[in-house]
């Protein structure tokens, strides 16, 4: 008999929330979608016990949020991964938390990985995650290649807590799974800095909008020229990303993954990496994030995770 997990994925409007002791973790930015989930909860008169805000851009919170919340905690260590991990760990271990809702919409990719690992380490059995996709991203100058999620220079990191396993194998190869995003600089940075013997380029199909798949290809055209195997995963389903990785990744080989695609896809990668410590997650980071990358909210999805 095969091992299997039945996953839960639904739209926000049809999701039934547990109301007791709700802790909501989110990042509040200039993007409309960053507040979509909390405003839905407030609209539904669901009281939030602990509101933990990862405030990358020092934005002041709307009064209405404070009125619906017992305890607001602002996370200040957002410039440095070890400090962020320490602060989140301290916050989460000092609160009585049982019912966590994590809004990953505008939390940076590396921070999302760190946060989920912290939550897993706190022996939380299950976790509810929401993600709001935008109406569209900002393409300032022309339609397809002007999207920027960051400003400044990129530096390569292994995401804290996801360093994989070093070996001294004389002939060990290394597989790199590069999940394509909208920024060629990020994927070029990974390719430039990383050694692999097999490259897998992963795009979203179906994407949130069909054009997003093509925008990824357009922005990664140079890399498509490298010898690679193409894979496709659905954009809105982290569980299928997990399954796809499970089916494709070679066993007993060092594996690295660069999660440059959207957040639900990164969530699937994160869940896979948590179960497979040989997986290294590599990510090019910059010191400054772009506060406004998209507008509107298209859809909000809820995912239930059992650790």
């Amino acid at each position: 008999m095969n091992d299997y997990t039945i996953y839960s994925l639904s739209k926000l409007s049809s999701y039934s929330f547990q109301h007791d002791n709700l802790t909501l973790i989110l990042s509040f930015t200039d993007e409309d979608r960053s507040s979509c989930a909390i405003e839905f909860l407030i609209g539904q008169k669901i009281h939030i016990d602990n509101l933990i805000i990862i405030n990358y851009f020092n934005k002041s919170l709307p009064e209405q949020w404070k009125n619906n919340t017992s305890n607001v905690i602002m996370v200040s260590s957002v410039k440095n991964a070890p400090d962020f991990a320490q602060e989140m760990k301290t916050i989460l271990s000092t609160q009585t938390i049982s019912n966590i809702l994590l809004d990953i919409t505008c939390i940076s990719n590396p921070d999302m990985f760190i946060l989920i690992k912290i939550l897993k380490k706190l022996n939380i059995e299950s976790l509810n995650i929401v993600y709001s996709s935008p109406t569209d991203y900002f393409f300032d100058n022309e339609p397809f290649t002007s999207y920027h999620s960051y400003n400044g220079d990129l530096i390569m990191y292994e995401i804290l807590g996801f360093s994989g396993e070093e070996t001294t194998d004389l002939y060990g190869g290394n597989e790199l799974y590069l999940f394509l995003g909208f920024e060629s600089a990020m994927s070029l940075k990974v390719i430039e800095n990383y050694t692999y013997d097999k490259l897998f380029l992963v795009n979203n199909l179906p994407a949130f909008y069909p054009k997003y798949k093509d925008i990824s290809i357009l922005n990664n055209y140079t890399i498509m020229d490298y010898q690679h195997t193409s894979l496709y995963v659905p954009a809105n389903n982290p569980f299928e990303v997990y399954n796809s990785l499970m089916n494709n990744i070679s066993k007993n080989k060092p594996v690295s993954i660069a999660p440059l695609s959207n957040k639900p896809t990164s969530l699937g990668i994160c869940l896979y990496a948590l179960d497979n410590p040989n997986v290294k997650i590599v990510y090019p980071m910059s010191k400054t994030l772009n506060p406004s990358k998209s507008f509107g909210t298209y859809e909000t999805y809820c995912y239930s995770i059992n650790f």
Partner: protein, 679 residues
């Protein structure tokens, strides 16, 4: 009919099997057997280092070179993985191969993602903790490597495990290092693996578990490994064994770690020989952990620069050999291993100019219009054109026009007659002072400039093609050369497949298209991954545009101006200096090795720079480096470039065409030119 079918079948077959011989380029990704089969040594008979030195010289060697210059290939070639392939190729046992070469190489790539993240785990701790962690980690990887080599020798029956166990048992060095009573290869392997596992666990979990770094054993660099080399490998192989530590991408190490390695190099022991591959001097330190001691070249290490110094003929020979190896391995090119016969050798500027002018005299009119007395006098202009015209040789007639507009002592017609006379004497091989001057102008000084100018006048592009141009554009960089070849072969396969596969020749149009495409993509790729990428992109575009404008000068006052200097660089704001240094470290701009007179009109000496030649096609400028007039950029010029603001129109030094201010605009201009040419 049947012959036609057969021929079609053959074509389809060869088409479907076509593999670009230049497809795999990045040495990081090439498998050991392929590194061996494609190996061309960059150490020539004139080099200060030979292959033999690299293997057996005790003094550390630093390989310095630009990105893609071949550092990784060299380091990997001398690594154990490729040595194993050499054993297979030579049909000898691994042990025999090691004994024969008297060396074993441990290849270690300084992975910046690993270093950045591991270092961040120690960011609130004293730096000694981080250094100690890295030393321990490096030592484990090194010892683990030696243990794996020993296991491999056992697996291949080259040596018995009992013998190795006995040597380990008798080693006082090993006994002093590890906390065990059972001294065997297996025990050592278990200890190393368990320590590496501990490191993995620490890296993955310490921040979440608040654990501090406390391994069971903590090894200093060259502790256990040295004992294994001295007491085990020496006995099994020979005591002249040269154990190479091949450290690649040294510039990725933090300054503290670079100092650690520098110290090991300065006070090197006789059991290991360190080889470093590093990008450039600017990105690394020569300091040791003793703050007052620095590494000195030729005293503490030998320095070999892969991307500098070799003459163009040597580069040609080297690149031709690299291409030959790849063509030999390709089934599609088994009958044609010579890249020159596929691409052609030198550019045919005469034919190019004829194709630009197509018998018209617009270029003569344009140039002659620079002379006031001709500009508004059509009859006189026509008279002069009649004197100097030589439609079969547009370069010569253009040179005649230049002689006319430069002449100040006689009338235009007299000057035209003089130029015509000099031309006839030159072609008729008559020796006199004028024909000598004409020969120099025609053969050396203006030939290339005139071609670029004619292309500009007729709104077409100067083409880049032929092996000679390819070697120049590659700027002594093997990866750039291979990328150009890959791009050209792909283009030819796409646009002129049948012709290409049957004749094994590639048209100059296809070559030019591919070269331009690669130049633009390489420029964009580098700018998108480096620090200050956007600002450096603007800087290079600004500089390139100035040269482009100079190349369009109808009087050709600055033939092939491609060099520049900075006015008072040390007084520039630190950010600009950092930007310039980064551009230099990534070889976007190249500084000449020695200081020299900054320009013909300035007597002062200083550093001269030029753009990487790979970017010349973007701007349509010459890939040659000529002396004479060089551009000089002040801090305000650099500021204008970096901020992508338009240079002042009244600044004589920067007579840049505002339309070509960004790469997009340059590309637009190029497209405009193409459109015009179709008209």
């Amino acid at each position: 009919m049947s012959m036609n079918s057969n021929s079609l079948k053959a074509n389809l077959s060869s088409t479907s099997n076509f593999e670009n011989p230049f497809d795999d380029i990045n040495a990081n990704l090439i498998e050991p057997h392929r590194i061996l089969s494609l190996w061309c040594s960059p150490f020539t008979k004139n080099s200060i280092i030979t292959d033999e030195d690299f293997k057996n010289e005790k003094m550390p060697i630093i390989l310095q070179g630009t990105r893609g210059s071949g550092k990784t290939t060299v380091l990997k070639y001398f690594s154990f993985a490729v040595q194993s392939e050499r054993a297979k190729k030579n049909c000898v046992s691994l042990l025999e191969q090691i004994k024969c070469e008297k060396s074993i190489g441990f290849y270690f790539r300084c992975d910046d993602a690993f270093i950045n993240t591991a270092c961040s785990l120690f960011h609130n701790k004293p730096k000694e903790h981080w250094l100690s962690f890295f030393e321990h980690y490096f030592e484990l990887m090194l010892s683990g490597f030696i243990i794996s080599v020993l296991k491999e020798l056992v697996r291949k029956n080259d040596v018995s495990v009992d013998k190795i166990d006995e040597l380990i048992y008798n080693s006082q060095g090993i006994k002093a290092m590890v906390d065990t009573t059972d001294f065997s290869l297996k025990t050592l392997e278990d200890i190393v693996i368990s320590e590496i596992k501990y490191i993995n666990q620490f890296r993955n979990d310490s921040i979440f578990d608040n654990s501090v770094f406390k391994p069971l054993h903590i090894f200093r660099l060259f502790s256990l490994s040295l004992a294994l080399i001295k007491d085990v490998l020496y006995t099994i192989v020979c005591n002249q064994l040269s154990f190479l530590i091949l450290v690649d991408e040294f510039e990725n190490l933090t300054t503290d770690l670079q100092q650690l390695f520098n110290t090991k190099m300065k006070f090197s022991n006789s059991y290991v020989s360190i080889r470093i591959g590093r990008r450039s001097e600017g990105a690394v330190t020569t300091a040791t952990i003793n703050n007052d001691e620095y590494l000195r070249v030729d005293h503490d290490y030998k320095l070999f620069t892969l991307s500098q110094g070799s003459a163009i003929e040597e580069q040609k020979e080297y690149f031709l050999q690299i291409a030959k190896k790849r063509l030999e391995e390709s089934s599609s090119f088994s009958s044609c291993h010579n890249l020159i016969s596929i691409l052609g050798d030198k550019e045919d500027l005469d034919t190019e100019c004829k194709n630009l002018c197509l018998g018209k005299t617009d270029h003569l009119k344009t140039i002659l219009s620079e002379k006031h007395e001709l500009k508004n006098n059509n009859a006189l202009m026509q008279q002069v054109i009649n004197e100097i015209a030589y439609p079969d040789n547009p370069i010569a007639e253009t040179l005649n026009a230049l002689w006319v507009i430069r002449n100040k002592n006689s009338t235009a017609v007299e000057a035209a007659q003089k130029a015509h006379c000099a031309m006839l004497d030159f072609f008729g091989k008559k020796e006199n002072s004028l024909s000598k001057k004409y020969r120099n102008d025609y053969n050396n000084k203006y030939r290339y400039s005139i071609t670029v100018l004619l292309a500009s006048i007729y709104k077409k592009k100067k083409l880049y093609y032929g092996f000679n141009a390819l070697v120049h554009l590659s700027d002594n960089n093997a990866r750039t050369f291979l990328n150009y070849c890959k791009s050209i072969f792909n283009d030819a396969f796409f646009y002129e497949r049948e012709e290409f596969l049957s004749t094994k020749r590639i048209s100059k149009e296809s070559q030019n298209r591919a070269i331009l495409e690669f130049s633009v993509s390489e420029f964009e790729s580098i700018c998108s991954i480096i620090n200050y990428g956007d600002k450096i992109r603007n800087l290079i575009l600004g500089i390139g545009n100035v040269f482009y404008t100079k190349h369009k000068d109808r009087r050709i006052r600055y033939p092939e101006t491609t060099q520049f200097s900075f006015i008072d660089l040390p007084t520039f704001p630190q950010e600009y200096i950092d930007i310039i240094n980064t551009a230099e470290n990534w070889s976007l701009i190249i500084k000449r090795e020695k200081t020299q007179r900054v320009s013909i009109d300035v007597s002062q000496k200083g550093n001269l720079y030029r753009l990487n030649k790979a970017f010349c096609p973007i701007f349509g400028i010459s890939y040659r480096t000529r002396g004479g007039y060089n551009e000089r950029f002040s801090v305000s010029n650099i500021e204008q470039f970096i901020k992508a603001s338009l240079p002042s129109r009244n600044n004589e030094n920067l007579d840049t065409d505002p339309k070509t201010d960004t790469l997009d605009n340059i590309q637009l201009t190029l497209f405009d030119l193409e459109d015009s040419s179709d008209e």
